[in-house]
Amino acid sequence: MAPRRLSVDRVREAVAALLQESVTRLPADYLEALRQAEAREESPLGRRMLRMLLENAELAEREGVATCQDTGVPVLFVQVGQDVHLTDGSLAEALEEAVREAYRDLRKSVVRDPLLRENTGDNTPPVVHYEIVPGDRVRIAALVKGFGAEMTSALRMLPATAGEGEVKRFVVEVVQRAGPNACPPVIVGVGLGSSFDGVAVLAKKALLRPLGLPNPKPHLARLEGELLDAINATGLGPQGLGGRFTALAVHVESAPTHIAALPVAVNLNCSAPRRAEVVL
């Protein structure tokens, strides 16, 4: 069978449109969770914060402006079907060009070198994770993630016998230490297993999952629920000003790991969790 041909120009157009839409329009499942939290929040100050976030989301969508000035370093997960032949140039360059186009009127938040700190001027390059998968489709998921929450994220290489208790303590500790800095209510992405690099990617991937969908593995779905309860028992609340809703969801993703280790990574997403996906 001949491979399916797909022009990288189509990828560029689709990714630019995806990013543009995601910065002005927050996911429907998140807005629904925010509305439910607003209805149930007991703290007057917390409720006021949630109301302002809802008003902000409405205003941004109506006016076509970004929900948050921090439109981050875009993180792209690109799954390329092995029966696809990408034509008309470099995929990496097409993705960069898509970012350049989408960020023309957005803040330029990327520096070329972490020590020299010269702004790239066009918000490139994105962080890209490639994966080769069966099939003849290309699936691209984007996270436009502010760095307030990114800065509070953490990773720990726990020992093999640490067990669920230590994992829970660490996750709650990360959220608590982040406090108001992560712009709660947060969405908590937890990676378990794999290696040092792999567990961080799992935690980020956990943030791609829509709210309201638990992990299909029963023991992880239970862990997600228990972690959410433990985090919300801190009373930190929206924006750290007190309340029941510190987190709206906890998503756990896991992978096989070494007999010595129980790696755990916690990647927090803020109150403007921009996320979008396209299949070509």
Binding site: V65, R107, G148, S271
Partner: protein
């Protein structure tokens, strides 16, 4: 919840009556600055040079605004994490800075300087950048324009909403806010 409508520049009497948990609606000129601008101001002070903006009685907002769309004075302009400005803040408070606005916790050093210098720290809503931009009616880079979004911005606020986190009497909203809602 007590509410105050304040106009900048702020006087000491405006600031000392504020208590952690009060709401403030700020109007008037406020300067926007973030990491690199703070670093440059600190370096200028070390060299004995003048600062590019007045600080006495003034307010600093920790922000790097997005570009403005037609019909807007400024693009989305929510607060950035204040703690990164902690190492540069005390010398500014000692020169009469009366308030800083951002989000997130401050260092012990900054909190003590707020009491000593009679100033306050206010938080506004992280992630409500479009809504907050509606309370900024004028914006232009007034110093270090080559830094782009990281320049020092002269902003005119109109009824900009914020909550007092650290007051001039050691009151600390973040330290007490979770207690009524915490469960063991």
């Amino acid at each position: 919840m007590r509410e105050w409508h304040l106009r900048t520049p702020l006087r000491e009497e405006d600031v000392v009556r504020l208590r952690a948990g009060d709401w403030v609606y700020l109007s008037g000129v406020v300067y926007g600055a973030r990491d690199v601008a703070h670093q440059r101001m600190a370096e200028a002070l070390l060299r004995g040079e003048a600062l590019p903006i007045p600080v006495e009685g003034q307010v600093l907002y920790y922000v790097g605004p997005a570009p403005a769309k037609a019909g807007w004075a400024v693009g989305p302009a929510g607060p950035t994490t204040s703690g990164r400005m902690d190492p540069f803040t005390v010398p500014l408070l000692e020169r009469g800075l009366k308030a800083t606005v951002g989000k997130g916790t401050r260092s012990q050093e900054v909190k003590e300087a707020l009491v000593r210098c009679r100033a306050v720290y206010l938080a506004t809503v992280g992630g409500a950048a479009a809504l907050l931009a509606r309370h900024i009616v004028r914006a232009y880079p007034v110093a270090y324009p080559e830094l782009g979004t990281e320049a020092i911005w002269e902003l005119e606020f109109r009824e900009f909403p914020a909550v007092v986190v650290n007051d001039a009497h050691s009151g600390d909203l973040y330290a007490i806010a979770s207690q009524p809602y915490a469960r063991s």
